[in-house]
Amino acid sequence: MTVIEARGLRKTFGATVALDGIDLHIEEGRILGLIGPNGAGKTTALNAILGLTPYQGELRVLGRDPWTERDQLMRDVCFIADVAVLPRWIRVSQALEYVAGVHPRFDRAKAEGFLAKTNIRLGNKVRELSKGMVAQLHLALVMAIDARLLVLDEPTLGLDILYRKQFYDSLLNDYFDRTRTIVVTTHQVEEIQNVLTDVMFINRGRIVLNCSMEEVESRYLEVMVHPEQLTAARALKPIYERQSIGRSILLFDLKSDLKLDRVDRHQLAALGEVRTPGIADLFVAVLENKPGNQAAQPQGAVR
């Protein structure tokens, strides 16, 4: 079942193009990481999906037009747009009461169960909580909603590593199942790469790479090359090369159509230590390799 379907999604702010006609096709049960530099268009894309901003092009979320049907869409979609959007004056108990009052799919007992595992008390006001606790509270509210799509835009920005890890752990253990879909953006890419099923790189309003994590594993290889093999390795046309602790690390795209003779794993294994690249390194490689335009969309869409 398709959760998000977009064709030619475009958004401009004056002369600035935030989204340059992107296509999206996101299926149920995926955890998609939307990765891109600041100003790449991630938040704009999410805002369009959430009905927070008007757009050009076609967009359907769970079969609805988000811009005109936001209130109905929000029965099935949850989002945490930022760390600090919970009103500071509200008490935890009031937040629970309010959400229970307006949201038909909110399970209050479940939210209280999540909160019981934290140091947050029902009598606390949001302004009395630390940043990390506010994030815990928001997550508890959201996880207790039986939604089909959860959108997280930098949900852990400014939190310390313990809270960040806890955040994604509870998301995976207590929330995610194969019928839910999660779209997440974050700058701490390494921390979520094990969580993701799919990854999408976005730059200057365009999709630069869009594939599943299995594809990333089967397609990209990083080789820490022995110094004496460097020339041979470079001859195989890596898409990116960087230095780390005096060693050269070369990143190869096994399916690149630019290569005449295909590189295979055995060949690379002979050159040095082979491993799957981190998403962050892959991101830098793909972005520097394909500057701006000429979007490479190998599989066309996320499966």
Binding site: W67, R70, M74, C78, V85, I90, Y98, P104, D107
Partner: protein, 314 residues
């Protein structure tokens, strides 16, 4: 929905059933409205604290009036009958006027703040993540100055005046005086009815376009909504005066605001209230100005709801 903790296959089935069952967990349409109003009262406690505080101060001050009350009552019969009621009723009218004034002030500040504040503190992103439409939100917010505050003002005034009457009676009885003149002269039930009539006609219906305008400004302004609410109408008035030497626009606003004319007094029952006041609900309901104002208010509110859809944090 407790499918989360169940083992996989079963939970999957029920999830799928749920997602296809087109049962968007039905909820009556008034529930989001009700909780949106509740949430306004949580956030803006001044809505009830301000009129209550004024009423409290009034009661404290009234203790000094009580001190002189036995003396007033002893010289009561020497007064001209027309002055008798005034001598007694003054603090009661004063209390009603103060509470109403406090509620009105709160209405103004609330209306200018409500749709602006949620954008400034970014909480609009949280409110918009809930299945509550922009129209429901705007209607819930405008119901505070239009419904909640007038009702509160009435209830608080009624309670205050009742306490005043009770205290007076106790003091009089303790001084061995009769309470009869007090009760017959005041006729609180009558002035309270007029107060209620005035709140409904003037504060709810006649002032509706003012509140709607303030809500629109509050949904639109990126800063200083107070100035934005006042300066443009003022500028139009000045422009009209300078360019055409006329004051239609300013007159329109002042008429709307003050009621002004005698006709208006009998239509909305202007302050101060007298038991025998002439009220003319028929004239009020058939006044074109009423309906014109309500249409303007509805248009301004619709614009505010539409504007909120485009707005994010500032």
């Amino acid at each position: 929905m407790n499918t989360q903790s169940n083992p996989m296959p079963e939970s999957r089935d029920s999830q799928i059933n749920d997602s296809q069952g087109i049962a968007p967990a039905s909820m009556s349409a008034t529930r989001p409205f009700y909780w949106s109003v509740r949430r306004e009262l949580w956030e803006n406690r001044s809505i009830y604290i301000a009129p209550l505080a004024i009423a409290g101060a009034m009661l404290l001050g009234f203790l000094f009036v009580l001190f002189h009350l036995p003396h007033t009552m002893r010289t009561f019969s020497s007064l001209h009958p027309a002055q008798q009621r005034d001598a007694l009723a003054e603090p009661y009218d004063f209390a009603a006027g103060l509470v109403m004034g406090a509620a009105f002030l709160v209405s103004i500040f609330y209306s200018l703040e409500c749709l602006y504040g949620e954008r400034r503190d970014r909480s609009i992103l949280f409110w918009k993540s809930m299945p509550v439409s922009d129209l429901t939100t705007v209607l819930a917010k405008v119901s505070i100055p239009l419904l909640v505050l007038p009702v509160l003002a009435f209830v608080i005034t009624m309670a205050t005046q009742f306490i005043m009457l009770l205290l007076s009676s106790v003091v009089l009885l303790a001084s061995g005086l009769s309470v009869a003149p007090l009760w017959t002269q005041l006729q609180l039930h009558q002035t309270l009815l007029i107060l209620l009539y005035h709140l409904v006609t003037a504060h709810m219906l006649w002032y509706a376009p003012f509140y709607a305008w303030m809500l629109l400004v509050s949904a639109w302004a990126r800063r200083a909504p107070f100035l934005w609410a006042i300066v443009p109408p003022l500028a139009i008035g000045v422009f009209e005066k300078v360019a055409f030497h006329s004051t239609y626009f300013v007159d329109l606003l002042t008429d709307r605001f003050s009621g002004g004319s005698d006709a208006m007094d009998s239509m909305t029952g202007n302050f101060p209230f007298h038991p025998g006041m002439h009220l003319d609900p028929g004239a009020f309901l058939t006044a074109p100005g009423l309906w014109f104002g309500l249409i303007v208010a509805a248009a301004l509110l619709a614009a505010a709801a539409r504007l909120r859809r485009y707005q994010g944090p500032i």
